[in-house]
Symmetry: C2
Subunit: 260 residues, 2 copies
């Protein structure tokens, strides 16, 4: 099977034009077929504030009401996605920006209301990896904004880490997939206060130990849960590294590599 | 050659959710392969105002400075484009939303500064109709926002009428193309104050007469110039009609049909 590198970049890279340019240049140079999923960064929050849209929090979690969905659609699906596409075109990558609604690539379902009504948030139901494969065969590089759609015609806000994991898993039916989460640290850290305490290899047993000890906590937990899920479901390799190390990660490994 | 209907809808349809839904339902039911180019509507102006971005006018013409380009990219390329795509998906049309930057479909050049610096405005250089044809063959329906890109990696604001005309002309290499401009009137009017004074057939000679008499004026002139240019460059049929009459226009004609 052909190699495919699925990369997720977080908001911190998007918020920093110089970092984004470095990343996109490295991304453009990757030797395999590739696919990018981007987060949103602070721009959405800034735009929402300027538009006078309140961020609704329920039990510490952000709710996507209709006005916030519109902001997310504008900023992630429009501004960020198209700026990345245009930059990639200038780097000779024939990028095609999309949300999950485009070409019906990532179908979701509005999250059912249990204790909390998250609003217009989508849980992924189905990835059309055949359709994505068709773009790759045409030498196009899909660039996904973290937005999905429902059969009812709604757009839905979806976590970018989860979207990357779901796409990687489904693409593993067609490709030998490496999934790379790029973020602002050099990898998963043993000691969150020491940027050089990168764990080179992480197994589920080690992950459990670090969680129990509190060394891995907060936002890293859902990220790693997504990452291990991908590994258990057909993705060949999962790496978590700094956005500046993506070329090394693909070449010889960098940051933290997850092992089954 | 296979028939292809290229349709441009204007801002007035986009500003009215009920009218947009009616239009998209008719569009979904068209019997030919199809492609949509949409304008922006008032949302961009409203968002710009709320964000405190001034609209710069020079000699009565709007200038696209960098902040305004970002608004246009958000609103046209994100919000409007993705809402249309999601609605079309719910109508069983496998729509794929794009700007000219996506898949390198519509390359432009920043308009050279002569008397006026229009800012980030793109004059179309090249349409990759082969790429668009490839989407159509895959049973995808492209939905274009009026944004193009330059080889330097810039996004550029481009007039939607011009973009529709340029795409239609280039697609005529592959297809028997009908180009339809949908707007808020029933067609080109003999008397701008009488909505029922539709000119059924318009030739270049008649057009010249109506222009000389002042019956056709203002915004209709660039629209008709674009329309006649398409007809002279390989497009089989050009129609200008109300958005509610698009099904009739494709079936037996409606509004104003341009003749060579």
């Amino acid at each position: 099977m052909d190699k495919l590198t699925v990369i997720k970049i977080g908001g911190n890279v998007i918020d920093n034009p110089a970092a984004l340019k470095r990343f996109l240049t490295a991304f453009a140079g990757l030797p395999t077929a590739k696919l990018l999923i981007h987060g949103g960064g602070k721009v959405a929050t800034q735009v929402a504030e300027k538009l006078g849209i309140q961020t609704t929090m329920v039990e510490g979690r952000r709710i996507t009401d209709q006005p916030m969905l519109e902001v997310v659609t504008m900023v992630y699906g429009g501004l960020v996605n198209k700026q990345i596409v245009a930059q990639l075109q200038s780097l000779d990558v024939n990028a095609i920006g999309m949300t999950g609604a485009d070409a019906g690539t990532v179908l979701a379902r509005k999250r059912p209301v249990k204790d909390i009504d998250y609003g217009m948030v989508g849980d992924i139901e189905e990835v059309d990896s055949g359709q994505i494969q068709f773009f790759l065969r045409q030498n196009l590089t899909p660039v996904f904004a973290p937005i999905t759609y429902s059969t009812a015609g709604d757009l839905l806000n979806t976590n970018a880490d989860t979207m990357a994991s779901a796409i990687a898993v489904d693409m593993a039916h067609h490709n030998d997939v490496t999934l790379i989460y790029c973020f602002e640290k050099k990898g998963v850290l043993k000691d969150p206060t020491d940027d050089n305490s990168v764990i080179n290899e992480l197994t589920p047993a080690l992950y459990a130990d670090y969680k129990a000890a509190g060394a891995i906590n907060k936002g890293m937990i859902p990220k790693l849960d997504n990452a291990f899920r991908a590994l258990e479901n057909g993705v060949s390799k999962v790496i978590i590294c700094h956005a500046d190390e993506v070329a090394e990660a693909v070449k010889q490994g960098a940051g933290t590599t997850l092992k089954k």
